[in-house]
């Protein structure tokens, strides 16, 4: 690695370390201070009572129903695109299965794209369906997290707060203003923001070129800040319009990472246990940092199979080198590694390079991030998932110190374990079964683009992404077929809501419990030893669950590359 690689990594991570605690503190204020007059106005407009406390069942019901409405609205806009105004290029409507897939994808914060943005969506659809769903999907996740956190902060109560109040506070005080300001910086750096659509240019050598512009910057910031990830363009963050400079790349990295990395600090403040927040932050940072190291190493690696082409793949002062297939020159390897590792860890799913052309070790990291799906995880729900892992780790720890386990003073009993285990089951079942099905059925196999283990990785990646509500893809796989559009559409909905409801129930059960006082026999969960235990537990369960497909996918390809074997 060259000096400037280190500088870029230090600058980017330094910014996160500096800003995350501040944002965490700000978010805690958002949820702990009285309503603003504007919020009260919106409550009146929407005829909701923000003080009506909801039980976990009611909270879950409002969450599901509101999302059903958002989903339906988004679906109608996409499915009826041809009938709606704001479509100067007269693009046809999306097919019902792709419209279903897309609405499911964006309402679940996945942003899986079975369509190509610039080729298939009108500007109105990009705004009214995509931008809208990006906001509400992320907001829902954040509200769910706040409800789950209340399970730990409340004592002897059966309610978890009010969904609409949680939803609107974050939207109004953090999400919308941040998107607005950052969008302007994006425009300054070169991201288009216009209502025009296609521009025709006469190139220097003569042939004409179509340039598709539109309201890109406004979509771009909510895409990253909301850990959404679905781009305006097919190439997503690799497109020079979406991500014109290394600065926008760093900005997008921050947008993706900032809210999510701030969540442990937010948690620490909400529960009044900053050390606990810090401990969870360290867990996240270790997983994130390990991933970053492996991705950087992997993409700087020289491909032994390219020896006959006699390339210069080494990084020098004159070129970035490494695996440049599918990557952009202005970003180079290090900016790309920072971006994609963050996108995958935060389950954003935005990409600034082609995932399908990455070396296998990088893909291995991406897959593990998606399997864990909780470090730092997508807006809200990822962190809630981390709390679930903590509950299970605490259970083991409690047994090992000879005391009925407790987490933040709440006793962990069979109901909690049942709910956490239920939530834990969803990922292995969905990902493993759907992948297995698709590599057996002709409908699944016919979409695969690359031969050998790489093709297997494409399918595994697709279902890992759908389940984790990540949305990035090894895009060689043709997913606009009805088979994949419908299957992944359903998977995204299940992967979002199936683990979430047990978590809400878990919170409901914890909120009712008494808080136990700490004694010398209590196992502290904010110590290095707990960090080690939690990391070990998460790593072990994920490794044991996904070892076989990881061997037959990325590990097999990596070892084959080293042996100079192609497929």
């Amino acid at each position: 690695m060259l000096e400037y690689d280190w500088i870029q990594i230090l600058v980017s991570l330094g910014l996160i370390l500096l800003l995350a605690p501040l944002v965490g503190r700000y978010l805690a204020w958002v949820y702990q201070s009285p309503s603003l007059w504007l919020e009260r106005g919106i409550y009146r407009l929407l005829a909701v009572d923000p003080d009506r406390e909801l039980t976990w069942k009611e909270y879950g019901k409002v969450l599901l129903l509101s999302n059903a409405f958002f989903f339906a609205a988004g679906f109608l806009v996409l499915w009826g695109q041809a009938l709606l105004p704001g479509n100067p290029r007269h693009l046809p409507s999306l097919s019902p299965e792709v419209a279903f897939n897309t609405a499911a994808s964006f309402v679940t914060n996945t942003n899986w794209q079975a369509y190509a943005g610039e080729a298939q969506l009108s500007n109105l659809s990009q705004m009214l369906a995509i931008t809208f769903l990006m906001f509400v999907g992320a907001n829902t996740g954040m509200a769910a997290l706040v409800a789950v956190i209340r399970g730990f902060t409340r004592t002897g109560l059966s309610t978890l707060g009010n969904f609409w109040s949680d939803f609107i506070r974050f939207f109004l005080r953090a999400f919308l203003p941040a998107c607005f300001l950052l969008a302007l910086i994006h425009v300054w750096q070169g991201t288009p923001q216009t209502l025009r659509s296609a521009v025709s240019a006469k190139t220097l050598e003569g042939p004409s070129q179509t340039l598709v512009v539109g309201p890109v910057a406004s979509l771009e910031t909510v895409k990253n800040l909301g850990t959404n990830g679905g781009g305006f363009y097919n190439a997503n963050g690799a497109h020079p319009y979406e991500n014109p400079t290394p600065l926008t790349n760093t900005l997008e990295f921050l947008e993706m990472g900032l809210f999510t990395f701030s969540l442990p600090f937010f948690f620490g403040r909400m529960t009044g246990r900053p050390r606990q927040g810090l401990a969870l932050f360290v867990v996240i940072l270790v997983l994130y940092g390990t991933g970053l190291g492996v991705v950087e190493y992997s993409e700087k690696m020289q491909n032994p199979l390219l020896a006959p082409a006699a390339l210069s793949q080494k990084a020098t002062a004159l070129q970035d080198g490494g695996n440049m297939e599918g990557k952009e020159t202005r970003l180079g390897i290090t900016q790309t590694s920072l971006f994609s590792n963050t996108s995958l860890a935060a389950t954003t799913g935005a990409v600034d390079a082609a995932m399908d052309s990455m070396n296998p070790l990088a893909v291995l990291v991406y897959l593990v991030h998606m399997f864990l799906n909780e470090e730092p995880g997508g807006k809200g729900v990822g962190f809630a998932g981390l709390l679930k892992e903590a509950v299970l780790a605490v259970f083991l720890a409690g047994l090992m110190v000879g005391r009925t386990p407790e987490f933040l003073g709440k006793k962990i009993e069979s109901r909690e374990i049942k709910l956490a285990a239920l939530s834990l089951l969803v990922t292995p079942i969905l990902v493993l079964c759907l992948t297995a099905l698709s590599v057996l059925l002709p409908a699944g196999k016919s979409s695969i683009d690359n031969p050998g283990p790489h093709g297997f990785m494409e399918v595994l990646y697709a279902f890992a992404s759908g389940n984790a509500n990540n949305g990035s893809a090894m895009a060689g796989l043709n997913v606009s077929t009805p088979y994949y559009a419908i299957l992944i559409g359903i998977e995204m909905l299940l992967g979002r809501f199936l683990p979430l409801l047990p978590l809400l129930a878990l919170a409901g059960s914890l909120a009712r419990k008494k808080r136990l006082p700490e004694t010398a026999g209590t196992f502290r969960t904010d110590t290095p030893i707990f960090v080690v235990l939690l990391l070990g537990f998460m790593g072990l369960v994920a490794a044991l669950t996904f070892f076989p497909p990881l061997i037959l996918g990325p590990l097999l390809e990596h070892l084959s590359l080293l042996h100079g074997i192609s497929f």
């Binding site: 425009v187 220097l204 199979l305 082409a309 050998g452 390809e557 074997i565």
Partner: protein
């Protein structure tokens, strides 16, 4: 809770419409308005016009250059507007190649491109070719090439334009950019900008 009746239904509907209007219309339109006032060039897509006012392309989007007189961008895997086939450097459907590192098709295309690159630029066999010159970019619209790539193309461009290679190298030095703020991103050359500068250097033929 009585299920989805009366006021409940209305409440969800109201919320949906409210957020659709605020997020889907008010927000993007206000960014458009303010962005257009503050940064009209960038907001419009960084479009470059010639003296006649004709749009010749976007400063930050690659366009195809095939002749020897121009520097060539990186290979493009962009698709035609309906996605049915390749249409390199067209902005209607950005796309990478999506080829895996162990895919024989990938090895073959890179090897072939490297051979063509050496032939075009009159380089001896086995001259190491900069990796960015023979790999497809992530968008198919990468406007930049590495300095190493530009330097290898310079003699060929100079001889096609019959100018002193030193002047071409000086242009590369002049148009090179990055790292941004001395911190971010690798050093590189914007191909369209370099080619426009070349045209300005030797107008006509």
């Amino acid at each position: 809770m009585k299920g989805l009746k009366g006021s409940n239904f209305q409440q969800y509907l109201r919320a949906t419409i409210f957020f659709m209007v605020v997020c889907g219309l008010l927000y993007p339109l206000s960014v458009t308005a303010l962005g257009g006032i503050l940064f009209p060039f960038q907001a419009g897509g960084s479009l470059v016009k010639d003296r006649a006012g004709q749009i010749v392309g976007s400063r930050i989007i690659a366009q195809g250059f095939g002749t020897l007189r121009y520097f060539h961008p990186r290979p493009s895997a962009a698709l035609s507007p309906d996605g049915s086939g390749p249409q390199p450097y067209d902005g209607a459907f950005s796309s990478p190649s999506n080829l895996g590192p162990a895919n024989p098709a990938y090895i073959k295309s890179v090897t072939e491109a490297a051979r063509a690159y050496r032939e075009e630029n009159g380089l001896p066999a086995l001259t190491p070719v900069p990796v960015d010159a023979v790999t497809a970019s992530g968008s198919g619209l990468d406007p930049d090439i590495s300095l190493a790539n530009a330097l290898l193309q310079a003699p060929r461009v100079a001889s096609a334009r019959q100018v002193n290679p030193e002047r071409v190298l000086a242009l590369i030095e002049k148009t090179r950019v990055g790292p941004q703020f001395g911190l971010l991103g690798p050093p590189r050359v914007n191909v369209l900008e370099l080619n426009l500068a070349l045209d300005a250097l030797t107008p006509g033929r």
